[in-house]
Amino acid sequence: MFPLDMAAHGKSINYATFFAIGFGFGTVLELAGFGNARKLAAQFYLKDMTVLKTMFTGILTACLLIFFTASIGYLDFSKIFVNQTYLWPGLIGGLVMGVGFVIGGYCPGTSVVSAASFKLDGIVFFIGTILGAGVFGETVDKFSGFWNASYTERLLLSDWFGWSLGATVVGVTLLALTFFYAAEKTEQYFRTPDAPFSWKIGNRAYVASAGVALAVALGIWLNGQPTPEQKWQHLGAQYQSLLDKREVFVHPLEYVKTWNDSAVKLVTLDLRPKAEFDAFHLDSAQRVTFDQLADKDFVFELDQLPPQGVVVLVTNDEAEAVRAWQRLKVQGVTNLYILEHGLRDWEPLFSHVASLHFDLAKPPAKVLEQFPKDAYTIKIKLKTSRRAAGLCS
């Protein structure tokens, strides 16, 4: 089941994996001609559209492979790192890079390949990128407000447009094929301006490949992405031991401690029926139904939580709590826990400290002092592995 966790096999294997992937990357860039600034810059003078063709074929191929394997249950997309969206910094940084691209002739990755094949301009450009990164680090304090603004943790095009993932994949495929067609016709026009213009694509292999890409995209759309329950069938085994060893069941006192910890962003989801919720609920809790836990928009919000975000499920029915936990876990919600025994233990637990006069719906931290230190075992461990995976930040 992918993605594999190479880091679990030790540092040398992990590093060897990264080296091998880099080796493949460098080889392909060199084979495509991206070690040569003339070839890259030609893109912007419309005579040679290699950059656009290769980039979008790469994106499309990887995109189809990712969502095809996810669609048939072989890849857990919720574990795949998705670059955070910082809309305006990304836009401004992109414009600056575009200018740097035309003036300097490379981007960071291609300058490495250029330097590797002894191109002096590539070596100088690469040194320039190191200096530029330094300039950024020295000055970022002056614009860190803007740099950290317009942020969404995991915003997909599908979320943005309100489309399904499958429909978005089809959209991206059609966009890429349109670009390829335009690239072919542009090259044809600029290379042989005097020849009679034809709308046809002569190369049959191109037409056939485009057909295959579109068919795969439509297949992904039709097949849909697996439901949380189907994903649990495929992926559940790796999480089952957490449930069996009760490592995700949080004692009420640990809940109180977490709640009073200002460093933690706590989200409490109460699954009990409305009547019970209205009679008594934790001050921080929001009521949700089991169906809501599969709702795309609802889970989207949970996936935006920062690394120090913790989600705790509350219900008096443990079987329901486990089903809810499974449902959210396979949708990528990290730091997910269950309040042990729901609220059944709540009132009796605090009965002997009632003299402190506090609101049972929000016990303050001082209540904890009335209990022995070993009254419970700590279960909440903040895991941030998925979010920490970005290579560029």
Binding site: P3, F18, A20, F23, G26, V28, L29, E30, A32, G33, A37, R38, K39, Q43, F44, Y45, L52, T57, I59, L60, T61, C63, I66, F81, V82, N83, L87, I92, G93, G94, L95, V96, M97, G98, V99, G100, V102, I103, G104, G105, G109, V112, S117, I127, G128, T129, I130, L131, A133, G137, T152, L156, L157, S158, W160, V172, A389, G390, L391, C392
Partner: protein, 170 residues
Amino acid sequence: MQSKPYINPYLAGALLGVVLFSAFALTHSGLGASGAISRIQVAATASVAQSHVDRVGYFAAVGGGDRHALDHSSVMMLIGTFAGGLVSAWRNRRLKVEVCKGPQISNTTRLALALVGGVLMGFGARFARGCTSGQALSGGAVLSAGSWVFMFAVFGGAYLVAWFVRKLWN
């Protein structure tokens, strides 16, 4: 001996896509180069002035105290990229000391502009939190909205100034 021609751009793209998919399947994340470049910069600074690295928050995060900026998987990927480029250029007889430039400018002009472009790229890549590989390719494939905006911004920025600097390349 004549160097071999570059391969078909779509074939190269398909191979690139397979490499990119492998990166996701084996490491959770995609390809990248600029993160490692930033680490090289921090390591270089640390070798002459560790105290400066410790003081600047952005540098300290990767190379402060007893952290070694270069001890990171992204640096391994960058070394791999270099090695792959080297071997491929060697096998295809493209290893040659030269300056890639347009016919109208001198080597000195080209190298100076490569440096300027590199600085802009290095700065921009930190600003955008990723380069063409880490943002556009990797984020593009997993449909990150921000990465798509970034990608069009790169092409937009390049096309905006391309006409004004056409003498550099044509």
